[in-house]
Symmetry: C2
Subunit: 481 residues, 2 copies
């Protein structure tokens, strides 16, 4: 490593040394976000927003392919609507922003800035749903939401964030459950095939479920510091909202019935997960399918005749082949500086092209994840790069999976639990009796929460890791973001 490179990379705190500062350094220095003058609200800069646009595009295609349509519901929710579902209001009221005045006028009824939209959407569904013919109703919206969080961190927990929220209504309990599971499946498939992040999928405990749901299902990812991150949730709402919002339909059998509902969402925090799962000491490492720039072309000695022209011709060829490509022809920066900058920005593949390469009708490709450097012919270059991007994706996924497996530990008693959590970090797999009291005392003693009861249940022991009484479920515990 040259002196220059060392100096440059040194701007990012080592993640072994201070993971939290490493994270902050990356998000600021790679221009993903910036802090704003509004407490807890971030500005998403173009490089970060483009990742979100790619996430949106991939998810939106999947939502539409599974029969969902997008709609848009109001930002403001009258206080009386929020209060209809008792658990829901209890969960959300402490963390909402209140609009009390419009212009100079004090409002007769306060408005909540939506923290989630079940209430306003159910108020509409009650109007729209009359007959079994109106079901299933499968809507989604892309929007901003606000939660008055005390401690915030860009992407992970912010006062305002961007998300999508799906809201569906069905004629039967079975269909609602099927939808709930189907959309969790979509999230999991998307996370693995687009973000290259392996997920543990399972059910939340009663304590951890969504305020107002019958049950909540989740996908949980492990970050490199050993903390878990809830990446997406899907809720079976049962008839809780249908009953308080009076969403009834005339069924085929001539009877009036309440609908069964689901809701599900993912947020801009997925970008935080990408950073903390794949990032390394040099900065961001972006999964190819959401990277704003998939290939950066750095021409070498590009003042020499023919280099820039050739680079430009290849640039057009790659762009036409559907690759997100950037040609860095700045003459204000050295080649080494450019290499470092694009590595820090996590671009999956770097393409170098210089006079000697042109002579040999070849280019140099460098993988961001493994730093592997290969010489490839110019012929069929787009295909070669696409195949390398697939390899990067696979490599990232496998590395993340290996990392998670190395940091998933069984605990058969509380000593093992604490030892694993303190000294080995990561997920703790342990048996649980199903009682709140044990869940509470584990949280109190260790700081770890029940992330989920995974669908793939194992039976490690017959006894609960905490109280020693009969175990009911295998649980993944972890400290979490």
């Amino acid at each position: 490593m040259s002196k220059k490179k060392q100096e440059f990379v040194a701007h990012i705190t080592s993640k072994e040394e201070d993971f939290s500062r490493w994270y902050t350094d990356i998000i600021l220095k790679t221009d993903l976000v910036d802090y704003s003058p509004v407490r807890g609200s971030m500005v998403i800069k173009p490089y970060g927003y483009e990742i979100w646009e790619n996430i949106q595009k991939e998810l939106d295609e999947r939502f539409k392919a599974t029969g969902h349509k997008n709609a848009y519901f109001p930002l403001f929710i009258p206080e009386s609507l929020l209060q209809k579902e008792a658990d829901h209001v209890e969960g959300f009221a402490p963390e909402v922003a209140w609009v009390t005045h419009g212009g100079d006028e004090k409002l007769a009824e306060r408005l909540v800035v939506r923290p989630t939209s079940e209430t306003i959407i159910c108020a509409m569904y009650s109007k729209w749903i009359q007959s079994y013919r109106d079901l299933p109703l499968l809507y989604n919206q892309w929007c901003n939401v606000v939660r008055w969080e005390k401690t915030t961190r860009p992407f992970l927990r912010t006062l305002e964030f961007l998300w999508q929220e799906g809201h569906t209504a069905h004629a039967t309990e079975e269909e609602a459950q099927e939808e709930t599971m189907k959309m969790l499946g979509v999230y999991r498939e998307f996370s693995e095939n687009v973000l290259a992040i392996p997920m543990v999928a399972g059910k939340k405990t009663e304590k951890e479920k969504f305020a107002g749901a019958v049950s909540t299902y989740t996908i949980e990812a492990l970050m490199q510091d050993g903390q878990a991150l809830q990446a997406g949730t899907s809720h079976n709402l049962g008839q809780h909202f249908a009953k308080v919002f009076d969403i009834q339909f005339l069924d085929r059998d001539g009877e009036q019935k309440y609908v069964w509902q689901s809701s599900w969402g993912v947020t801009t925090r997925l970008i935080g997960a990408i950073i903390m799962v794949h990032g390394d000491e040099r900065g961001l490492v972006l999964p190819p399918k959401v990277a704003p720039v998939q290939v950066v072309m750095v021409p070498i000695a590009f003042h020499k005749e023919g280099v820039l022209a050739k680079a430009e011709a290849l640039f057009e060829e790659l762009k036409a082949a559907g690759l997100r490509v950037e040609l860095d022809d700045r003459d204000t920066q050295s080649t080494g500086w450019k290499f470092n900058e694009w590595e820090m920005k996590g671009v999956p593949v770097r393409l170098e092209i210089g006079p000697k390469d042109i002579e040999k009708n070849q280019v140099v490709l460098v993988r961001r994840d493994t730093h592997e450097k290969i010489f490839v012919p110019m012929e069929n270059l787009a295909d070669t790069i696409k195949s390398m991007l697939d390899d990067v994706h696979k490599g990232l996924y496998e590395k993340a999976l290996a990392m998670r497996e190395a940091h998933t530990h069984e605990a058969h008693n509380m000593d093992e639990f604490k030892d694993a959590l303190e000294n080995k970090k990561g997920f703790i797999k342990a048996m649980w009796c199903g009682r709140d009291t044990c869940e509470d005392s584990i949280k109190e003693e260790t700081g770890a929460t029940a992330r989920c009861m995974p669908f793939e249940q194992e039976y490690l022991d017959e006894h609960c890791v905490c109280c020693g009484e009969k175990a009911e479920h295998l649980v993944f515990f972890a400290r979490a973001y």
Copy 2:
């Protein structure tokens, strides 16, 4: 017209009889929007939202092609930021929603729900812009905004609406002006080539310009009831915001200078314009490029062998060719009912296919705008339909242009002005001295406002239509939404 058809169409009020009720009937009955429990806030239903998605896609491509990037800025703006630019706060403070509490806590400083984002964006630009190398800065955001309007109407004027706002910073006054005009040009080209709506482009008067701008440029469309609608604006902000937010850069010449800025936006009200420019007595007439469904296939006698199979094969063929196509194979509705419903929903082309058509290897195509019915071979059907969609687009544009021309009247004195406005409706072209007093008294006497001073100036008279003194500008006046 069959009895059934008459009954069905009768649900929509005649636009000659009551334009306003016709508009409301259309937006509700075609499922574009619904009213919500929040005063002045609409729910955009999937059929309306899909039009917005198509508008977004077309505009976003144009923004990116002209070098702009998307970002996302906070929804909330601290009161002190809003107050920095004097004209801006005067213009917006009376119509903002105020957040005063977060959870149980009363905020030390009130927050405004963004009515527009110049202030929060300028606060960030001041941090991001240091050198001429950082310029031009060309950002856009797609988001929701809130204005506390007293009288609201879906799409046209709502408490909350969706829009895009471009915000740019430049090194010179000339570049800022060039950008301002370029983006107005993008809006105009988009309106004409995508929405099929002809626009009058020009400059706003001092009274009508954006709060905080040096000058505002606008595109104005004429609705079928003779009222104008401001469809998009582009503002040259000069250095007004740069000075109060201290956005300075070190120029090539070594001097610190304030940047020059522009901002520009269009909103969901464009959907209102589409309805009021193209709609007819049967309902919506959608321009093909934004229609959620471009071709609806209605199989005739589809219980007969082979009909549905053939229709499905054609459906797949048309879909694969990139057309937005829907196959209406409901057996719960009659063919006539389907024809009426899809006409009401404004689908540009209807395709009928029955046993006789299949025998003859043909289908029937019916244009929504002219009701022209033609028999065409099944070979190259996608191309035939694409060409028909182009014809529909052209037809809509020409009809709208003819309508506007028939409703654009010259007035040489106030009697003519009033007579034209009352009896002929539409745009009134008249000469104006350039003084507020005349603009005010025209508004007071007639209800018409100065829509713009068109770029294509003519000289109708030497005297002002109002005071008779020396005329400075040709102005398009109209009553407006």
